[in-house]
């Protein structure tokens, strides 16, 4: 069938289909001729087919054709074309109605078939185009595959090359390593050889030296002598003592004494350090206890809590603290206790701090939804407004200045007016004075305005602070309220009570203030001139700290550090007359000409550099 379909003309396929139906039934066909014709119709010749149709029914075989059709139709389930006869002998009549019905039905069928065929054809077309598309896709993919295959081969090739290279490099590395090893061996062997030779030479040299010594020293060289006027006394005023076993023992004793002293000194230092560290530990402990003690009241209410036991520990330790003298006795006994308790407390503190942090972040989040944001916005708006106003004022001042200058310029720039100027001078002067006073007044006004603005800003800040305080108390209240409702949250309250409730909004303030705050190291314990300079020298304040911690080296004085700067800066700040004084302090009379006067000095220091800049 498939072959057929491809061969036959699509326009005639309907007929050929019907024909095929016929052909399937050819065995039933009475006329061999017809069957032959049908067979002939398999040859795709339209004319043939037509002729076959026209030849189906002739005048001679109407009856036959009818009966054939009837037969065929009945086999297809159509009603018989003949009228139902009552008797056998009577010739069956052709029922026209039935024929027409059949025809009609056949036509309908035909139409349906045509429609179906059309559908099938369009589908076929679609499928054909799909097929094409798929084919093109296929070819493309094939191409792609090909290229990727080629690429892969290329990559493989490269990989192989790289591997080859790698192998080579490895080989090289190994060679190099071997080389290094060899060289090291060579160096070592050379070194040993060198040492050996050196030793040999040294031995020779020693022999020579010995010989020389003998020659030089044993010759009773008269030159080797000391010519001295008279012997001087010993520095310590004592007389030299004979060398005996006693002096040897004494020397030993002294040496050990020195060593012992050194060790004692070091021990003392270590003891001091230890004491200090202990003190720090103690203080830390105390502070921790005081920090953590406020929660003691709370846990009484709670029964099952892990911190409860620790708090009892804290109480215990607090009791221990009263026996402070115990700390000084010996570290051994107390050490473990101390470290353990400190560790515990530290853990508690850490967890608290963590919780606190969480809380703070929470509060932060809440805070964003609060009115606080609005107030901040207000504040910003206000400041913006103020800034704008200040800007406007400044501009006004500038324009006025310009006007004044212009007036002055116009008054002065023209040469011809210089004659007239004299007469107008007084008038102008007065006018200028007036203007000047006006200007001054305006300036004052502006100043006042500015002051009021700053005051307003300060007030705003105060208000803000008050508000924040309010807010903090409100938050506190809220948290307290929360605890009354919610027992699980009681820990938060405990925190608040422990850190007096202000820690979180303190944090907030710190956050908001940070950008304004500038890191500035303040030098303590240094002279006035130093405080300006230490900005660039972070070490100077800490030197004093170091002095405190290490009292063993106490000579250092941070005041002396800046000797030079002090003396170099002062005269310049004060004026020129001082320099002359300073630079002419005489060393020796009579030798002053141009010796110390030609001294140029330049001085640099980070701060000063900055000052130079406008």
């Amino acid at each position: 069938m498939g072959d057929w379909m491809t061969v036959t003309d699509p326009g005639l396929s309907s007929e050929s289909k019907t024909i095929s139906q016929y052909t399937s039934e050819t065995k039933m066909s009475p006329s061999s001729l017809y069957s032959q014709q049908v067979l002939c119709s398999s040859i795709p010749l339209s004319k043939n087919v037509h002729s076959f149709f026209s030849a189906f029914c002739t005048e001679d075989n109407i009856e036959q054709s009818i009966s054939y059709l009837d037969q065929e139709l009945t086999t297809f389930g159509f009603p018989s074309l003949y009228e139902e006869s009552k008797g056998k002998e009577t010739k069956r009549e052709l029922n026209i109605v039935a024929v027409l019905n059949c025809m009609n039905e056949l036509l309908v069928l035909q139409r349906k078939n045509l429609l179906a065929q059309e559908n099938v054809e369009t589908q076929n077309l679609k499928l054909g185009s799909d097929m094409d598309h798929l084919q093109s896709c296929y070819s493309k993919l094939k191409e792609q595959l090909e290229t990727s295959r080629r690429e892969m081969i290329g990559l493989q090739e490269r990989d192989r090359q790289l591997q080859c290279k790698n192998r080579n490099l490895h080989q090289l590395l190994k060679n190099e390593k071997d080389e290094v090893q060899k060289l090291q061996n060579i160096i070592a062997s050379r070194a040993t050889q060198y040492n050996h030779d050196m030793k040999r030479k040294e031995r020779e040299y020693n022999k020579l030296k010995e010989r020389l010594h003998q020659l030089v020293m044993n010759k009773k060289d008269k030159k080797i002598a000391m010519d001295i006027l008279n012997y001087v006394g010993r520095a310590d005023g004592k007389r030299g003592s004979w060398r005996t076993g006693k002096t040897e023992a004494r020397n030993e004793d002294e040496m050990y004494k020195i060593l012992l002293n050194d060790y004692e000194y070091r021990q003392k230092q270590i003891l001091m350090e230890n004491a200090e560290l202990k003190k720090v530990l103690q203080q830390m402990k105390k502070e921790m206890i005081s920090l953590l003690s406020p929660q003691k009241k709370k846990p009484r209410e709670r029964v099952d809590d892990s911190t409860g036991t620790v708090i009892s520990d804290v109480e215990e330790d607090a009791g221990e603290l009263s026996r402070e003298s115990m700390w000084d006795l010996s570290c051994e006994t107390v050490r473990e206790q101390l470290t353990n308790s400190i560790r515990k407390q530290w853990r508690i503190l850490k967890s608290h701090v963590e919780k606190l942090d969480n809380q703070v972040s929470k509060v932060h989040l809440e805070g964003f939804n609060d009115e606080d944001v609005i107030s901040r916005q207000d504040h910003e708006q206000e400041t913006e407004k103020l800034e704008l106003e200040i800007q406007q004022c400044k501009e006004m001042i500038k324009t006025q200045q310009q006007l004044l200058q212009q007036q002055l310029a116009t008054a002065y720039d023209d040469d011809t007016t210089s004659l007239l100027r004299d007469c107008y001078l007084l008038e102008e002067k007065e006018r200028l004075k007036e203007e000047w006073s006006l200007f001054k007044e305006q300036k004052k006004n502006f100043e006042r305005e500015r002051r009021s603005f700053t005051e307003a800003a300060i007030r705003l800040g105060l208000e803000r602070k008050a508000f924040e305080e309010e807010r903090a108390s409100w938050l506190k209240q809220q948290f307290l309220n929360m605890t009354t409702f919610d027992h699980q949250n009681s820990e938060n309250v405990k925190l608040f009570s422990a850190f007096s409730g202000s820690s979180d909004w303190d944090n907030l303030i710190v956050h908001s203030r940070q950008p304004q705050k500038k890191p500035h190291s303040v030098s303590n314990g240094s002279p006035v001139c130093m405080s300006k300079l230490t900005k660039s020298l972070p070490a100077s304040p800490s030197t004093s700290d170091f002095c405190q911690t290490r009292s063993c080296i106490s000579e250092h004085s941070s005041i002396n550090v800046l000797n030079i700067t002090a003396e170099e800066i002062k005269p310049n700040q004060v004026g020129g007359e001082c320099t002359n004084q300073k630079w002419s302090v005489a060393s020796r009379p009579g030798s002053q000409e141009g010796c110390y006067s030609g001294c140029s000095l330049s001085y640099t220091n980070s701060h000063v550099e900055k000052d130079d800049l406008p």
Binding site: H213, V232, G233, A235, S241, E567, R588, C599, L601
Partner: protein
């Protein structure tokens, strides 16, 4: 800052007496002793030949003048100018001479390091110490003057002998585990002796006074090792500078390294202040503001002015390419000095010769870097405070303190090329030495400045 007039000098021989009262200087074969305050000549001694070395005795009563070429040492007394003493080493020769800490004995090292002769000024006795080692720093005395450590070499092995200086009795004698000992140095507290090996091997050993080996430290193998060693005045730290351009700080408790200070040519840390010496001609300087303003009428105008500028990081310092095929290559830490309070350490990396690094020992980090226009010749700390004086062989003196730094032109006709300097122990003045001249530089003390300011305050 004031400068004295310029005096003649030869072979850079100029020394303050240990008590700070006198200043001895040599001009050819003459020894001149001056008063430090008035600079008047107190004594003038004439030696037999050109003086090559001078040294004050610890009590400032005697001065030793060595004439190595003639194998002679002459000693002069300050109290009795007519007193004289001449020691002739004869054909044995002389290569080094020094005082013992008591100021009554002189230790002469003969040529080829055959022996050390100990001459006494009190008695006729002469002692000999055989087998001294010919090395960079073979003799060292404890600060209290009680003991002397001496490096020795016998049978191709290094030994250290510790003598009691009062009667030259041998206290300890032990061999050291070194290939070729190069130097020894007592800790300032006199209880620990640092011994380091030749530069071929990085090795430093620490011995107790009683000869026990306390510790050994070696940072690396194969390449060139230790170049310089310095104890902190507190005896807490031992700084070891090596050829790899690093300083390693050892502590006095475990004798392990606390930290190492590298000396890279590029400085990136913005915390570090880099002072760069900048030269500019005075003509250019007139227009712009400078601090301090150029002093008008300050004698003969210098050809150019120099001042420090603060370089913005990152800074790359001028480096010298070391010639590696020569012996003693110019690399590594060649100079090391702790400030008297042990708070700072100044170093110089020899392949970055223009720069001085100042390290903060409290925080164990770099504090400041000074880059000069020419190679640094010498630097020395003020004995009283953390103040560093630097000279570069030019006519300027440079001073650094934690507050900042400055450069000072040394006045005088012609160029006064400062080759070396030494502080007076009070820290108020220092001697600047050039090839054949020297002058004193007086730094005002704070009291002087204070009174001056007060006076001015009264005037205004």
């Amino acid at each position: 800052m004031n400068f004295s007039e310029v005096f003649k000098l030869s072979s850079l021989l100029c020394k303050f007496s240990p008590d700070g009262k006198y200043l001895a200087s040599c001009v050819q074969y003459r020894l001149v002793v001056r008063d430090v305050n008035t600079l008047q000549i107190l004594q003038l001694y004439t030696c037999l030949d050109q003086i090559q070395h001078i040294e004050w005795s610890a009590d400032s009563l005697f001065i030793l003048c060595a004439m190595y070429k003639r194998g002679l040492v002459q000693v002069w007394s300050l109290e009795q100018p007519e007193w004289h003493c001449k020691i002739d080493e004869g054909s044995a020769g002389l290569v080094a001479s020094c005082w013992s800490p008591d100021g009554r004995h002189i230790l002469n090292t003969t040529e080829f390091h055959l022996r050390i002769t100990v001459w006494s000024l009190c008695t006729k006795s002469v002692s000999y110490i055989k087998y001294p080692k010919a090395c960079l720093q073979g003799i060292t005395f404890t600060r209290d003057g009680r003991y002397m450590a001496l490096a020795e070499r016998r049978d191709c092995k290094d030994y250290v002998s510790i003598f009691v200086c009062s009667d030259w009795q041998l206290l300890r004698h032990f061999d050291t585990d070194t290939q070729d000992l190069t130097g020894i140095e007592w800790a300032p507290n006199g209880c620990v002796l640092a011994v380091w090996d030749t530069c071929l091997e990085y090795k430093i050993l620490l011995y107790s006074l009683d000869g026990r080996l306390l510790s050994t430290y070696s940072a690396y193998e194969w390449s060139l090792g230790i170049k310089s060693v310095a104890w902190s005045p507190s005896s807490q730290f031992l700084a070891v500078g090596s050829y790899d351009g690093k300083v390693r700080i050892l502590n006095h408790v475990t004798w392990k390294m606390i930290t190492e200070f590298g000396h890279p040519a590029a400085i990136n840390d913005p915390k570090i202040v880099v002072y760069k010496e900048a030269e500019k001609s005075p003509q250019l300087g007139l227009g712009c503001l400078s601090f301090p303003p150029p002093r008008a009428g300050a004698g003969p105008l210098p050809s150019s002015e120099s001042k420090y500028e603060i370089a913005s990081v990152p800074v790359s310092l001028q480096t010298l390419k070391p010639v590696t095929d020569r012996a003693n290559p110019k690399i590594g830490i060649g100079m090391l000095a702790f400030s008297p309070d042990s708070y700072f350490l100044a170093t110089r990396n020899d392949n970055i010769p223009n720069a001085v690094w100042v390290w903060d020992i409290q925080k164990l980090r770099l504090f400041a870097v000074l880059e000069q226009l020419s190679p640094v010749r010498a630097f020395q700390w003020d004995p009283q405070q953390p103040r560093l004086a630097i000279c570069t062989g030019g006519s300027r003196l440079y001073l650094w303190s934690p507050a900042g730094c400055m450069s000072v032109q040394v006045p005088g006709e012609g160029d006064f090329a400062v080759l070396s300097l030494c502080w007076h122990l009070s820290g108020d003045s220092m001697a600047l030495l050039s090839k054949d001249h020297f002058c004193l530089c007086f730094l005002e003390t704070e009291a002087v400045v204070g009174t001056a300011c007060r006076q001015l305050g009264g005037h205004t």
